[in-house]
Amino acid sequence: MIKRVLYVVALPAVLFGAWFVLSDNSESFYSPPLRDILTAFGDTWSADRLRADVVPSLLRLFAGYLLAAVIGVALGVAIGLNRRLRATVEPVLEFFRAIPPPVLVPVIMLFAGIGDGMKVIVIVFGCIWPILLNTVEGVRAVDSVVLDTARAYGVTGPARLTKVILPSAGPQIAAGLRQALSIAIILMVISEMFAASNGLGFTIVQFQRSFAIPEMWSGIILLGLLGFVLSLLFRLAEQRALRWYEGLRAAQRQG
């Protein structure tokens, strides 16, 4: 346990330490000393601020992420299982995937207005791709003997999906979900750069525009912390869901 905590904090501690020392007498306007940033952190992120800016951001983030997960996995399974469907829609998906969300924001605004709906859609639009792609690949890579077994024993329909395809593709879907999580955070920020009046991304951009540089850095650090906590939660969930897989891989390694 102690070892695990050590693993988690060792490197960040060293890096932050180095940053603190190296930046201590920084004159540069845009990279102020870490000391100033930390002071700003305490001053800036009060409980009120968290409630007013971080909570709405998180709500949008969760809504967007969950929606992307559901759509991504569902679509990914369908596309992964059906070769012709895959051939048909792949170029269209690639087309949309290559369009930068910031460019699309105006278009999305046309259809979804300027409320939270728009921001959620931007998040979905941006972070669905790793989920979709990984699901497709995971589904395509299900062991043929496993598939044959399922067919032979009449494991078809929903059971085939929930008992065979999804668990088997599970590890790769998890890889996609994990990647999507950090992209979702990025898009949360991007979406809040447009037509927002609150939110973490909005606040950071606002700091940046008003040249409140230590505050801006403190926001970036908060984002990192947020990502870290979310990914920790994600890993817990992943470990539960993929226990068999971790065991399978660990079993023969350590014996």
Partner: protein
């Protein structure tokens, strides 16, 4: 009734083309137990895959009870040669055996019973909650067998199901298969490399030639229906029959060289 008529299968991938089966014709009556022997790589697995509707033949016909097969027919269970890969690593042993029964909508209590019985019959009581990859090779293979047994199929296809178990367990499992066959009147097609096993188990032995594969010979095993490991194997008729099979296989291999 299981009819295989003029079955042909060619694998194509890129420039490589393998004629796994050239022209196979034979029938298995309902309630029959037929053993299939043939040199390694002659196409036994391919044949089983075609019969179970998992693979589309290049030519010819497979019919189960008069209906052309184009997908796994109901009431059929398959024990795959690649036992390790045919178990779902994300499920415990119990879940692996139980899943097909759930699909068959067997009631929960009956399911429990069937699973326990089957695991007991293959000697795996006590490992229900383990994952397949925590078991030895032979144990994994027995899980696959238990899964097929618990399913209570009308047709049972088994692809070298005892390859990874020890002699004693093998004998036990042979008797298990025979008792199952008698009790449930299942139609069984059994692929094996063990000539003694094929004679001991089967009512008929179908011998395949080596590639290009055709049916080399068929042999009716006219041993009494009541068989047991000690006496049957000592029966002079048994020895005679196994010699016949052995010779045919020798012939098959020679022809290929």
């Amino acid at each position: 009734m299981l009819e295989v008529k003029g079955l042909r299968k060619v694998y194509r991938s890129g420039s490589r083309e393998v004629e796994a089966l050239r022209d196979l014709t034979f029938t298995v009556d309902n309630g029959d137990m037929v053993c299939l022997v043939g040199p390694s790589g002659c196409g036994k697995t391919t044949l089983l895959r075609c019969i179970s509707g998992l693979l589309d033949p290049t030519g010819g016909d497979v019919r189960v009870n008069g209906k052309a097969v184009d997908g796994p027919p109901p009431g059929m269970a398959v024990v795959f040669q690649e036992y390790g890969r045919s178990l779902f690593p994300w499920m415990s042993v119990r879940d692996n055996v139980e899943l097909p029964l759930k699909q068959k909508k067997v009631a929960r209590s009956r399911r429990r019973e069937l699973v326990d019985e089957a695991l007991d019959a293959v000697g795996l009581t006590g490992t229900e909650s383990a994952y397949p990859w925590q078991l030895s090779g032979g144990m994994q293979q027995r899980v696959a067998i238990a899964r097929a047994v618990a399913y209570e199929p009308q047709t049972l296809l088994m692809d070298e199901p005892f390859a990874a178990v020890d002699a004693q367990t093998r004998a036990d499992l042979e008797d298990l298969v025979r008792s199952l066959w008698k009790r449930l009147n299942v139609t069984i097609l059994f692929v094996t490399h063990d000539i003694d096993e094929s004679v001991y188990l089967g009512q008929r032995v179908v011998m395949l030639s080596s590639s290009p594969t055709v049916v080399q010979d068929e042999l009716i095993i006219d041993l009494p229906a009541e068989r047991d490991q000690l006496h049957t194997r000592a029966d002079p008729r048994f020895v005679e029959l196994r010699t016949r099979v052995y010779e045919q296989i020798q012939l098959a291999k020679k022809a290929a060289r």
